[in-house]
Symmetry: C2
DNA sequence: AGTGTAGTTGCGAATCAATTGCATTTAACT
DNA sequence: AGTTAAATGCAATTGATTCGCAACTACACT
């Protein structure tokens, strides 16, 4: 299991074996993972955990800001990733569901306009979908 | 039931009573609705329909391009709306879930950047979240 | 108008991700 | 080491959505 000491452990959460496992998997991953992928990876490593525990741990991490929850493709996929300093957006392959990180953000110099309602904007989400280079040329 | 004849009926779909009902509710609505909201509205009008039928009809309409499916707030809400000529994005109130349409789109003059992967971009989704003016000043 | 048939719906059961309840276990403080 | 609130194992449940199948109906063709 990858050392999780590089991450500052969130206050108020006990440092348990299952939580270390989940965090470790997230640290090792290059891209966002689903709860089931995290669960499977932990089982593959020979450790034991319950899926409901994974969900509970992810919820706790999200609440502490350590992890960011994102969903893409109109509900089909919910993913979890370590919260990165600058926020990120993703492009998703419609076919193989590969996730590619966007390097820039369209909202950086953009002011959303609403007709008469004013909205206190807290955040935004941008998702791009299409085909990755591997899937572009399938049958 | 509102007259649905202003909308060109999609080819290959039989014009049935239930489909007219669903379309009529969508025409009457000012903003996107969930499947259950559509179902309830039809029941409230004294007509009878099954929820699974609503889903099937919405799927068919989406496939024909008549209706657009959107989900917001990280999976919590899936909404259906008549497809508008120009595409739309929404701002969602985190509290009351009110939907406000954005008048402009940040992607209009924006080129997404990816490190080494190239993506054939087919579309995008932008979602803004925050508090609407009604919820801004709650306790 | 009557008939054939593919498409559609009623209805219930099934699915799937996610959540919850409760008894047991454990991390962390004294 | 003892105490306790928090965390987990485990199973059952929820809630949105989908599926299977028999009955029905819109529509095309006599």
């Amino acid at each position: 299991m990858k050392d999780t000491s590089t991450i500052k452990w969130p206050e108020g959460l006990k440092r348990t074996k299952t939580r270390e496992s989940v965090l470790s998997v997230l640290i090792d991953s290059h891209s966002p993972l689903s709860a089931i992928e995290i669960f499977s990876e932990i089982e593959n490593r020979g450790e034991s955990i319950w899926l409901s525990t994974v969900y509970r741990i992810l919820d706790a991490f999200v609440e502490k800001g350590l992890v960011t929850k994102t969903s893409v493709l109109n509900n089909e996929i919910t993913l979890y990733d370590l919260t990165h300093s600058g926020h990120k957006h993703y492009a998703v392959c419609i076919d193989c569901h590969k996730i590619v990180t966007m390097e820039n953000c369209p909202m950086d110099d953009f002011k959303p306009k609403f007709k008469n309602n004013d909205i206190e904007v807290l955040g935004h989400k941008v998702e791009i979908y299409g085909y990755c280079k591997d899937c572009k040329h399938k049958s």
